[in-house]
């Protein structure tokens, strides 16, 4: 028997978090930043959230317990269940620190990244993701290959798990909405036009007087911060994270979302995200129920998604929904501008 309510809640949470990732990627690609390392920023956010969510409560509790042994995790679980203030406080703190830390990372990459071509940017960010993942994998303070468990959900104190799930969904949707608003307002403004100029011909944008390196740096900082928030949301949703969640396949998945949906178009990105996030959800939750033949369905999924993305790139690069054409309303000698 499938529980429709929790099915929808989980699916919604999935789509919501992925939306933050794909919308920020849309912002980045519209500015000429080829971010092949979404996982780097996303993973950092998740680990920041995990560290704050486990070390801080245990520190408050006292007694020097480690978040990686059974006792520590038990304590976290029981604290979570009885401490609404702590749950929400720790979560809020993670969001803020997550945003700040990951935005700082985005900013720190300015000098090496924004002066070189976009292909090099893509490769460097991909490598950054891998390097960070290996650091998580090899650092005992971060749980090594097992990662973190028992991260307290901000609604762990709510008795009804379905209600807790629903509340969390609302939080995720709120942040997705903020991201949507942010990206949309930036892209539909004079700044958005300048970003597209930088994307298409950075030299001309420079000659127009725009400090392209600084502009890209600020956009990446903002975009990374929001990506970090998505990471925190992920960590607190699954309540456990490990380095294997943050592989290049994840970055690839988000790229597939915006390409299949339509590169350059926000609406397209949303469509592509809903599509592929649902597939991802199906892989994670539905398939294990159906059972496996002899080929892992997850493998087939990647092959299909990869091929689909390539086919879209070759046959219909605008994707399902092309980049919106600008609409100008001309008055008498004055112009009103709406996009």
């Amino acid at each position: 028997m499938i529980d429709v309510a929790s099915f929808l809640t989980t699916l919604g949470t999935y789509i919501g978090i992925y939306l933050i990732l794909s919308l920020t990627l849309t912002l980045e690609t519209s500015s000429g930043i080829t971010n092949f390392g979404k996982t780097a920023f996303y993973g950092l956010g998740a680990y920041v959230g995990a560290v704050i969510g486990t070390y801080l409560p245990l520190a408050i509790y006292g007694g020097g317990f480690s978040p990686f042994d059974v006792n520590g995790i038990q304590i976290l679980l029981s604290m979570g269940r009885s401490n609404p203030m702590m749950d929400i406080g720790v979560f809020a703190l993670s969001i803020i620190v997550g945003f700040g830390a990951v935005a700082a990372l985005g900013l720190a990459l300015t000098y090496p990244i924004h002066r070189v071509g976009s292909s090099l940017v893509g490769f460097t960010l991909l490598s950054l993701g891998e390097v960070l993942r290996l650091i998580y994998l090899n650092t005992s303070a971060l749980g090594e290959s097992k990662g973190f468990m028992g991260i307290p959900s901000p609604f762990a104190w709510v008795k009804d798990p379905k209600l807790a799930g629903l509340l969390y969904l609302l939080v995720v949707l709120a942040f997705a909405g903020i991201t949507l608003l942010t990206v949309s307002r930036i892209l539909n403004s004079p700044l958005g036009r300048i970003l597209r100029g930088i994307r298409d011909d950075e030299l001309v944008a420079l000659y127009a007087g725009w400090p392209t390196v600084l502009v890209k740096a600020r956009i990446l900082a903002l975009s990374s911060g929001l990506t970090g928030v998505a990471g925190v949301l992920w960590a607190y949703y699954f309540t456990s994270i490990n380095p294997n969640m943050f592989t290049p396949s994840l970055t690839f998945n988000i790229w597939a979302m915006i390409i299949i949906g339509g590169l350059g178009s926000m609406a397209g990105g949303i469509v592509g995200t809903v599509l592929l996030a649902s597939v991802d959800y199906a892989m994670r939750f539905v398939v294990p129920y159906i059972g496996v033949a002899f080929i892992t369905p997850d493998y087939l999924r990647w092959i299909v998604v990869g091929l689909l993305m390539i086919v879209v790139l070759i046959k219909k690069p605008e994707g399902l929904i092309p980049e919106k054409q600008t609409i100008l309303i001309l008055g008498e000698g004055e112009g009103g501008d709406s996009k």
Binding site: R185, D200, D201, A208, W210, G264, G333, G335
Partner: protein, 253 residues
């Protein structure tokens, strides 16, 4: 604004693209630069606009006695001083319309910040920018193409729009790189008229690289001739055209 170039030398590995080139372009004047292919004309523009840093020499910009040394400045900083350039093959932003291409050259200042974008405080700036752009397009008879994308336009239109970007930016120095190349005569006429208008109304300084010397001769006050990166000759158009060395360079080079 006047432009002074002092003993400019630019090397690319073993190749010397500019060799000890000096020029002085008075305020509001129109100056032509000619020379065979590969003589360093476009390199000169690239150095003046900050795309390249010279090995030796300086570039100075200013009014009257007050000259600023802009050697080695970033291109965007130089652009904001009021210098605009065009390219041999016109470069417009392909995904934006003609109108939007002009708007990119408007000095939005804070209206182009992330903060203002998020708070939607850019409406007033945008209105001013759009009316300025439409005014320019109307003055030069280009309103019909305002919504077209660069891909749909002829070379002549592209070059004209490229030049008009300078008006959006309130430029006082226009560096035009082969503006008449590859366009029909009637379009070249329009371009010459545009240059004359901008020059007289805005008191702008023009430096024009050209191969089609006939178009150039009637438009400029002074000509510099470059050959193999060196200044070969200079003078009034009539003098230069009759100069033996110039004729030899063009025929021999």
């Amino acid at each position: 604004m006047r432009v002074v170039v002092e003993k400019l030398t630019k090397r690319f590995g073993g190749l010397v693209a500019l060799d000890d080139v000096s020029m002085e372009v008075p305020s509001s004047s129109k100056v032509g630069i000619i020379g065979p292919n590969g003589s360093g004309k476009t390199t000169l523009f690239n150095v003046i606009t900050g795309y390249y840093t010279p090995e030796k020499g300086r570039v100075l910009i200013g009014d009257g006695h007050k000259l600023t040394d802009i050697t080695g400045w970033n291109p965007n900083k130089i652009a904001r001083l009021g210098i605009v350039r065009t390219f041999q093959i016109p470069r417009l932003i392909p995904s934006l319309t003609v109108l939007e291409n002009l708007l990119v050259f408007y000095d939005y200042n804070r209206c182009a910040s992330i903060e203002y974008a998020l708070r939607r405080k850019w409406l007033e700036c945008e209105e001013k920018a759009v009316s300025k752009a439409i005014g320019i397009l109307r003055d030069f008879g280009l309103l019909e193409i305002s919504q077209k994308k660069p891909g749909e336009l002829s070379a002549g239109h592209l070059k004209l729009v490229e030049t008009l970007r300078g008006l959006m930016a309130d430029a006082s120095v226009f560096l035009l790189d082969e503006p008449f190349a590859g366009i029909e005569s009637w379009m070249a006429r329009r371009l010459i008229e545009a240059i004359k208008t901008i020059s007289s109304e805005r008191k702008a300084t023009f430096i024009v690289i050209e191969h089609r010397i006939s178009e150039l001769l009637e438009g400029v006050d002074y000509i510099y001739v470059l050959h193999n990166g060196r200044l070969l000759a200079e003078g009034k158009p009539s003098e230069v055209v009759n100069d033996e060395r110039v004729v030899k360079a063009y025929l021999g080079g």
